[in-house]
Amino acid sequence: MLDSIINAFTKGDLADLNSKMLHSAYWGQHNAKFYGSEKLNMILGNWFALTGKCTVLAHQTIKQNNHYVVYLTFEPTNKNGTINYVFWLETNQLMVKSVLAIVDTVQLAALNQDSPEKVSDNLPSTDPLVISDYDQQDNLQNNIAWPSNLISKQAQNVEILDQWWAIWSQKQLANINTLYNDDAVINLPGDKHPQKRERLFEFVLSKINTLTRMFTQIEDIAIEGQDVAIKWFLDGDEGENKIRLPFITLLKIENSKITVDTTVCDILAFNKNFSTSHVFKQPTA
């Protein structure tokens, strides 16, 4: 499956990846779902238009049950820069039922020296989304998912994952210093190069300071050894508007410390969906 994805996105081998997709499979990307025979044509057509031919600089996979998570860093042959791309597959190892893919669109725009707006304009329309308003407080009902609720209590690193989740769900920023290795590698959306953990502090803080009634929800977790993939989203209010920002985070946990955190989200698709949002915009004077 890994080779099929790499060959599709580096060489344009559409047929091989297509042969592994069920007729009923969908490809979710840029906050839209694509079904039918045209889905891969469209995804790969847009990809090569922006990157040209490219190679894979680094890859990582995490496999658990029917979850297969592939993280690839691409390097275009004729352009400077790299692009982070995560594919979350539902597969029975033979066929793919669904793909949720997040590509770092800010990195894509930087690669082409295009304005983000130009890349954003070329993204497909997002699916209609209604986020019904809700009470984001738990009210002592234990209704909110923590990693330890979704994975076996005996699983490795359960407590660390709960503490990591507290950074986002309870705004417990102090956990960044206690959980992350001093020289942990932090890859965040839109960043051209890996950062130190202080950058994560700023990234979380910027969301806390922009949004009210912030709420985070875990969708799925996949664990293989010391590698963990978490599919999750962040909801919040910006004035009268409610926003939703989907993420995939990949963690490497070594000796009870997080040594690598790669968090991806599709900033330009988000800005297209929530055009009045300031989550990823610098405030203007």
Partner: protein, 381 residues
């Protein structure tokens, strides 16, 4: 759950585990099944191996291969078809409707997501609840307005009673509000356009009778004595009654997993209990006194080793419309009626995924029709 072979009414029911399951099967395999027959299928063509195979292949032949005339073979001459916006009972109407839909959406392809079924007994046939994702481009005038030339996606649930190779009764629900939004049409504009299409008198009779029935909390007349997993029926009734009738949303955690995923009409998406509760509350707020009845339940195993089952529920809801939306405010106090269908996937006894489908466009169109009829009768402007 007992999925072993058990004799009922002197008929040996075959195990459910052998019946076709769509989820991991590719289309060529579904269209050319190689497995032996797994159900009795009395009176059905020999080519079909089970009810799922029958539904999948006739749907493909009629819609994707465009053999619209096959409706004459696979629908009974008299076949009541209920939607929230119309009624038909002649096979010729089914042919006409299919042709008109294909004309407006010529590349419509139907992807079978799931068929949840029930063996109704040797003389009663089968109940099937077919969830479909359709992708289609609007190239001609439709019930929502002029052609938009845009491509959209829609979820449909078709509940059918199939007897001796023919569909003899159907309830059809489609998430039209999600579709029209993708076509660039405002939901209420689509409803106003839809309301101009005259409703069949039998449709109005059926809708009024259903409103009275649901208010009285009476069961649907379509009931069968065929065996069914009592736990699934009990869960379905309790789910609807607790959340929709009693409005006890604090009990949602007894029905849903903490990361349960929900798809509701119009693009309502939620994951997790707070979001799911919010979705139901926000929708019910437009009809706070709503009452619901559970009209039919069927269930099949999805993964017997891991205690995963699929449940299909057909339900009806009515109540006094009380929306605070400005454009809908003139319809306050009118009877609101929904024909709904839900597919639930339960893991270890709780919902991990829910797909609920009803037609908001038709529901609002019915309010508009009632409003216009009342004002026409009273001479009000």
């Amino acid at each position: 759950m007992n999925h072993k072979t058990v004799p009922t009414n002197n008929v040996m029911h075959l195990p459910q585990g052998e019946v076709t399951q769509l989820y991991w099967k590719n289309l060529p395999e579904l269209l050319n099944p190689s497995n032996p027959k797994s159900q009795l299928l009395r009176g059905f063509d020999d080519e079909f191996i089970d009810i799922v195979d029958y539904i999948v292949r006739i749907t493909h032949r009629i819609w994707e291969q465009k053999n619209v005339g096959l409706c004459n073979d696979y629908y009974a001459e008299y076949c009541p078809v209920h939607t929230l916006g119309a009624y038909a009972d002649a096979v010729s109407s089914v042919v006409t409707g299919t042709l008109q839909t294909i004309s407006a959406f010529p590349d419509r392809s139907l992807i079978g997501e799931n068929v949840i079924w029930r063996d109704l007994g040797p003389n009663e046939g089968y109940y099937s609840s077919h969830r479909i994702t359709s992708i289609m481009t609007n190239k001609g005038p439709s019930e929502f307005g002029d052609a938009t030339h845009k491509t959209g996606r829609v979820t449909t649930i078709a509940d059918c009673i199939c007897v001796e190779n023919k569909i003899v009764y159907e309830w059809l629900v489609r998430d039209n509000s999600f579709l029209v939004k993708q076509l660039g049409i405002d939901v209420l504009d689509a409803s106003e356009h839809f309301a101009k299409i005259p409703a069949h008198p039998k449709f109005e009779n059926w809708r009024q009778a259903e409103i009275s029935r649901v208010k009285a909390q009476e069961p649907s007349e379509h009931q069968w004595k065929a065996p069914i997993d009592k736990a699934a029926v009990e869960f379905s009734n309790r789910w609807l009654d607790t959340l929709f009738n009693q409005k006890n949303f604090g009990k949602a955690n007894t029905f849903y997993h903490l990361n349960a995923k929900l798809q509701w009409p119009g693009g309502r998406q939620a994951v997790g209990i707070p979001g799911i509760i919010g979705t139901i509350i926000q929708w019910l707020a437009a009809c706070p006194e709503a009452q619901v009845t559970c009209d039919h339940v069927c269930t099949v195993p999805f993964d017997q080793e891991k205690d995963v089952i699929d449940i299909a529920i057909r339900w009806s809801l009515t109540g006094s419309f009380s929306s605070k939306d400005k454009r809908l405010s003139m319809y306050r106090g009118q009877e609101f009626f929904i024909l709904g269908a839900s597919h639930l996937r339960l893991v270890d006894g709780k919902i991990s995924e829910e797909w609920t489908v009803f037609d908001e466009v038709a529901a609002y169109a019915n309010l508009i029709r009632d409003f216009n009829r009342t004002n026409h009768n009273t001479g009000a402007q």
